[in-house]
Symmetry: C2
Subunit: 248 residues, 2 copies
């Protein structure tokens, strides 16, 4: 395990029950990809402390970084801070810097108890600020606790990704007029001879697509991608190749 | 744990790496909801036996039914059958009925080895047929192994859901012109007095939305939904209520 990738936790009864269509998961997938960070696991769990703790344990065992979406806020179903604290065996404390931000927001009036909950954080948390953010991102160890509201999630995710190292993956695709089982031996041979190059095979049943299978080759090295793709294409009958894309 | 709900496993490097945008997860969420079956957990994992086995163990501990998407087919990255067999401690065998279907499809020509892989199944699997399906759904215990290709996934999911019992949930929403922290005490009180009624709170930061928070109340019983919603609305200042929806 390289432990250089990320896992994602999408938290919320509303997404599991189809009341709200989750857009944070798809956004995270796109943004991690663009940043060159592998997404290794994504979990969608309800607003329940036990479920979140279990998912966190699994995600942390798998990935260097964990991004959570949702369950941050002042209402009864906002339990992410408590769950992260439990998973890390930390206490929940009031974060002094968040308290300060709330004091500024509420001015001379006293902060309502329910708003105070926004200042709660697992002990040892740090804040990641950015000029675009009214409220900074709460982070503890390598877990980033993002709100579920899509507008806020997007802004905070950007601030988080700017702090992470990344190396973009090179990808190349070939479109084939063949059934998947016809090309399976060639793919197996390529996968076996280049075990660290990722080879994917995606059939379509859309008659308008103009091809039957899309095959992708991926690696950090452009040279390895091109060498593998060229060898793979040569091992297939020329008449089956509809279109070979350049690497990107 | 009632163990009457479902978990979902979306399997595939292509969705985690943003090469393919997953549409099976969102479809499953909608269809389970319409059928009245709670989705308790969703996991997105790569095409790796270990990751799939681990996810299956977690899903089976949580839910009565498990639906998997992807990793079914003749190529090297199709490892779902093997992973399910491992998770259940079963052997992988050739399913006689699937073999028969392949023999029909290939007619007098012999079945290629790569196509034969489609007939592999965990020992003790059953097939769920339907007039709409060319190939039946592979099921073992309460795990349904669906292909990742969206067109096939949708058809097979329909066949699966027809075999499951379901009871639709009643839902009702109120839209409020209030900040979440202002209504948090009222929501807490309602959640505390009606612990089995699900109350959700969803702020928006879209100035064109015409409200600040949407609050939903859900239960199997229409009467319980309406009683809880009426009590909740009465506990809030009338001026904060933008719009109260009928139950549905």
């Amino acid at each position: 395990v390289t432990r250089s990738g990320a896992s994602a936790l999408i938290i919320g009864n509303e997404v599991l029950s189809a009341k709200v269509k989750d857009s944070n998961g798809p956004l995270l997938i796109e943004r991690l990809r663009a940043r060159g960070i592998a997404l290794e696991l994504m979990l969608m769990v309800p607003d329940e402390v036990d479920a979140i703790v279990e998912a966190l344990v699994m995600a942390r065992a798998k990935s260097r970084w964990v991004v959570t979406s949702g369950g941050i806020g002042p209402t009864h179903d906002d339990v992410t801070v408590r769950a992260v604290a439990l998973a890390l065996n930390r206490r929940v404390v009031q974060h002094p810097q968040m308290l300060e931000l709330l004091r500024e927001a509420f001015g001379s009036t006293s902060i309502p108890a329910s708003a105070l909950r926004i200042a709660e954080a697992p002990e040892g948390s740090r804040l990641i600020g950015s000029p675009n953010l009214k409220y900074p991102v709460l982070a503890v160890d390598d877990i980033f606790l993002l709100p579920g509201v899509p507008e806020l999630f997007a802004l905070q995710l950007q601030a988080v990704l700017e702090t992470l190292p990344g190396e973009p993956v090179v990808s190349r695709a070939v479109f084939l007029d063949a059934f998947e089982h016809e090309i399976a031996p060639a793919l197996d041979a390529a996968a076996l001879s280049e075990p660290d190059v990722e080879i994917g095979s995606y059939p379509t049943f859309d008659p308008k697509a103009g091809y039957r299978v899309k095959v992708t080759v991926e690696h950090l090295s452009k040279e390895r991608v091109n060498a593998t793709m060229n060898r793979l294409v040569k091992s297939l009958p020329e008449s089956k190749v509809v279109r070979l894309e350049d690497e990107r």
